[in-house]
Symmetry: C2
Subunit: 299 residues, 2 copies
Amino acid sequence: MEAWRMPRVGVISMTYARPFTARAFPLFARMRDADMEFVELLVPEADEMEPRAAGAALREAGLGVLLTARVNAMRDPASDDADVRAAGISYLRHCIDVCAEIGAPLLGGPLYGAPLVFAGRAPRPFAEEARAKRVAWVAEGLAEVARHAKSAGVALAIEPLNRFETDFCNTVSQALELVRLVASPACGLILDTFHMNMEEDDLPEAIRLAGAHLLHFQANENHRGFLGSGHLDFSPICRALAAIRYTGPITLEPFRRDDRRLGVPLAQWRPPERDEDADLRRSAEVLRGLLFAAGARRC
Amino acid sequence: MEAWRMPRVGVISMTYARPFTARAFPLFARMRDADMEFVELLVPEADEMEPRAAGAALREAGLGVLLTARVNAMRDPASDDADVRAAGISYLRHCIDVCAEIGAPLLGGPLYGAPLVFAGRAPRPFAEEARAKRVAWVAEGLAEVARHAKSAGVALAIEPLNRFETDFCNTVSQALELVRLVASPACGLILDTFHMNMEEDDLPEAIRLAGAHLLHFQANENHRGFLGSGHLDFSPICRALAAIRYTGPITLEPFRRDDRRLGVPLAQWRPPERDEDADLRRSAEVLRGLLFAAGARRC
């Protein structure tokens, strides 16, 4: 087993608060104390925070930062409506500018758009012509975004989501096809074990398939609880990351809450009900321990 | 290891066709030839098929039958709208009458309603008062349905669905709470490994928790492919079924298709593109083999 550089481990802001405004900046110190090395922030809407101020607060706390784009039904690179597609591309270009302002080297997320359940849209069949047109629109749009990203020195990472969150890109093989179509050195992919658990035949094999295209990884339990509270087997997942010599960031996104009464919506984001810092630190310990066992070393 | 009676294995009609009309009755012989012992049918809408004719065709093919209710936004026991709730209860009472006509001993499904993605509804938070009211409406409504079911000699089975398909009941512990509230000997639950894979901490433990309340089981891969094509571990699942001496029906629902191109919606039902009878038969062999290994015997 050959040693390789230990990936950095961070947390998504939603684990602590949403929306994440300047009032939440004191949380950065708590994240750092919970052994987080970076924060994955949602690209702020205009009224949420000032990117340069956020960048300064993050640097002060000793944290790196990545951004996640939030496409929606009004800004959707896969929309039938040309204006909505243009708004989607314009939004993603804006997200890259925010990366530059905040100091984030990577913009990730379901950059292709086509949201389902969170946009209140039901899946429906596409005729072949409509499907092919949609793929071409998305590939063209993301190629334009990738040119802007490349000139700004920002990496783009396309994330496949589960079948209920999008009807465009659900698997690593689909995401790799999209990366090939975008054909930019700035464009790779994100994999999230929460979504992979629903869509892939074999999680370690999917990681190996992504190989050098993998720019960002999200280590989540099957139900988004803390690591060890669900049924995913992270040992072979970490060995697959070792096999591809993955040195990018790994985000923890444990925002499932303890309230499990009837009629409490699990897919609806809910704020934490208690201090979960110790749980988060333990999740990072599990992950770093398994990465270590797979050969990862701080260097 | 004590022997126990081998559960019957069947298939859901959607694996072959949807809608399933009288024109599809010749498929029953193919299902039987693929070693299926029963068919799980969606309760037919008025224009789809005549229940007594379906029952006769099933008996002729030597197949048992179970029914699954289809709640939706217009007939929803969890709706805010009293008329929609009443339509939901009236629909479920009708479903029980159809069970009697077709010869099905069990009616299952997400009987509580509250559909999300397939109804084009996004999850949203509920205030505590609204949540409690909704739970009470559903429990009252299902208690009425259970009285009708009991007098018709039909069992009711409540199925928890994943977080994207409903915001009312996602886990076995929530379903057990609802069964307790309905408080009828006619009412138990269904567990489906596809949904459990997304929501439970531990699948075998969830089965043990359900215990004698488990009336119906659905054995599906994490992505609804054929058994063995995904990452679920069915050996400990079968041992858990052995531990609770489960002798009810087990349905296979492999309706994921091979077409994995970008922009082909996975959550949208699609017809089979090839003859999958051999794959289905092999899935049943895997399941029966693992049940046998766990002590199940035909007797």
